[in-house]
């Protein structure tokens, strides 16, 4: 066919179903993320605490191992209860945060810096789908280090200790799942919002770190100076720790209560969504 005969022709190939269009973004982005050796190393290292706890659970349920140490007080060494899962999740939120810090700041900023957002939004692809697609990338990565490993350990203990233990401790499984998702959504939306507003990746990463660390420090000062507890509501780490304590049935430690912790995370999430709503436009008026 001669070149001049080429004209506009409607796409006649297979169309992606409307509901699953947001998967296009994570499908390529996750491949890109795992191409970094440094990231893969860190991602693998983030599973070590869970593996150690898993080894502990296995050994403490192993009759052969316990027979070697007959005087061992199993309950005193490692009680497999809400407290153990609370400690594990309180630790695992850090690698999850670092993963979001590495991956998140580059997700939206690259599209904005290169003016490629109109390329997405000129297709039958909404802003909500764009945000959902970008959030899915972080949600997948953060899920692996939080609720997936948490529930895997719960399943391991249930398998070894029996159905009775599982039924008595179902609250642990639900607590790990709900708490982890609250953390994943808050951190992911925060990372995306900062990535949208700060176009340079290192600066966006710095802003994310600053929000978290100054929140903890200033919250601590406010509480100490004004003799209150809700000063920690400016810290997402204080918020998630309170949520996990409440969900896993641990006694109140005098700090932020679980509902206030939940409110903190929801507040940060809502603010991040608002920032994304304001910034993500198919066009930008340059003044």
């Amino acid at each position: 066919m001669a070149v001049y005969e080429r004209r506009y022709k409607r796409y006649e190939g297979e169309i992606t179903p409307q509901r699953g269009r947001f998967w296009v973004i994570p499908r390529y982005a996750i491949k890109d993320v795992f191409s970094s050796k440094l990231f893969v190393t860190f991602f693998a290292l983030s599973f070590i605490p869970s593996l150690l706890v898993g080894a502990g659970i296995y050994l403490l349920n192993n009759a052969d191992f316990l027979a070697i140490f007959p005087e061992l007080q199993v309950d005193q060494i490692l009680a497999i209860d809400g407290s153990l899962f609370n400690n594990l999740m309180s630790f695992q939120i850090w690698p999850a945060f670092i993963i979001a810090l590495i991956v998140g700041p580059g997700l939206v900023s690259k599209d904005l810096a290169n003016n490629s957002l109109p390329l997405y939004l000129s297709r039958p692809f909404s802003r909500a789908e764009y945000v959902l697609g970008k959030t899915t990338i972080l949600a997948f990565l953060l899920s692996c280090t939080t609720w997936v490993t948490g529930l895997a350990l719960f399943a391991l203990q249930s398998n070894l200790a029996g159905l009775d233990w599982m039924m008595e401790n179902l609250r642990i499984a639900s607590g790990v799942f709900i708490g982890s998702w609250l953390w994943i959504l808050t951190v992911s939306l925060l990372a995306l919002a900062l990535s949208a507003w700060v176009k340079w990746r290192p600066v966006a990463a710095f802003m994310m770190l600053m929000v978290v660390l100054t929140g903890s420090f200033f919250g601590f000062i406010i509480n100490a100076l004004f003799k209150i507890q809700w000063g920690s509501m400016i810290s997402i780490f204080a918020g998630i720790k309170a949520v996990f304590r409440g969900l896993l049935g641990l006694p109140f430690d005098g700090g932020l209560s679980a509902p206030l912790g939940c409110l903190t995370l929801l507040g940060f999430g809502a603010l991040s969504l608002l920032l994304l709503h304001l910034k993500l436009r198919a066009y930008e008026v340059v003044s």
């Binding site: 850090w94 670092i98 810090l101 290192p202 710095f206 770190l209 600053m210 100054t214």
Partner: protein, 299 residues
């Protein structure tokens, strides 16, 4: 973020000297190097103090000051008023410990990581590299500018925090503590720690900015290492900046629950030790800068 304009960098009288004018005898022209250092320092100092990144530094430095002013003005029960200067000193100690590990640390990160990364992102580093200036001078000039900006800001804010902690004692109590008690000495020591901390952390972040595309991740890992310092055995404690800075504290802050106590190092060894550490890292940064090639497309 406001960048360096092309003519400013390329045509600065100190930077723009013809390299052919350099004597061919092989001897080092210290005078010219001094003028070049002054030129870089002036440009970078202006850049450090009047750019958007300084807003973040100012916020980190002054937000605790604002909180303390609010606390002093509000009618909440202040135990310090009854407890006297001892209680105020202990309060200043724990506030300062948090301030050092958060505000000073983060400010050093933003001031120093962007010294080279910022120029790469703005695509303006090649103007410096095309100038007839030794890369070592460039590294030193940039470092000194950021250190001076950070040191002035944090020495001032540290002094303000210290003074505000004693405000509930009244002006007479404050002046008694400062001039008849140990107050003035403590204030100088805290300000000095801030200056050393900015320089010590700054060297690390300058190096991270030269080696890594995203130095903030290195910052997080260093923050984690510094945060668990209290928990580390004595040998590993020595591989952190905070351990050396803590040896200057006039009033020790409250210890963590599982803290492992190590023998503090004498300040007579700490100051030269920290300065030597900074020189070593600057030498490494200069070596890296000398072999650096710019590829703006990577960012």
């Amino acid at each position: 973020m406001s960048g360096l304009s092309v003519p400013e960098t390329a045509q600065h009288p100190s930077l723009g000297q013809d390299p052919r004018a350099e004597p061919q005898t092989g001897s080092t022209d210290w005078g010219m190097m001094g003028r070049q250092l002054w030129g870089v320092l002036r440009i970078e100092l202006r850049y450090s103090l009047f750019s958007r990144r300084f807003l973040a530094v100012a916020f980190l430095a002054l937000a605790p000051v604002g909180l303390l002013i609010l606390w002093a003005l509000t009618p909440v029960a202040k135990e310090i008023a009854g407890g006297g200067s001892t209680q105020a000193m202990s309060m200043a100690a724990w506030i300062y410990a948090g301030y050092l590990s958060t505000s000073v640390f983060l400010s050093a990160l933003i001031l120093f990581m962007s010294l080279f990364r910022g120029d790469i992102l703005q695509r303006s580093l090649h103007y410096y590299f095309l100038s007839p200036v030794r890369r070592q001078i460039l590294v030193l000039g940039k470092f000194l500018a950021a250190w001076i900006a950070g040191a002035v800001t944090f020495a001032t804010s540290t002094a303000l925090i210290y003074l505000l902690c004693f405000l509930p004692l009244g002006l007479s109590g404050l002046s008694r503590h400062l001039f008849q008690g140990p107050g003035l000495g403590h204030l100088m020591i805290y300000a000095g720690i801030s200056v050393l901390a900015i320089g010590g952390y700054g060297c690390i972040f300058l190096l991270a900015g030269l080696f890594l595309r995203n130095p903030v991740v290195a910052g997080v890992l260093i923050f984690g290492w510094e945060s668990i310092n209290f928990f580390l055995p004595a040998l590993l404690k020595k591989l952190s900046v905070i351990f050396y800075l803590q040896s200057f504290y006039p009033v020790p802050p409250p210890q963590e629950l599982f803290a492992i106590v190590a023998e503090p190092i004498s300040p007579w060894l700490t100051v030269p030790g920290l300065l030597l550490f900074m020189v070593a890292l600057l030498a490494l940064a200069s070596w890296r800068a000398q072999r650096m090639e710019i590829n703006y497309g990577e960012d």
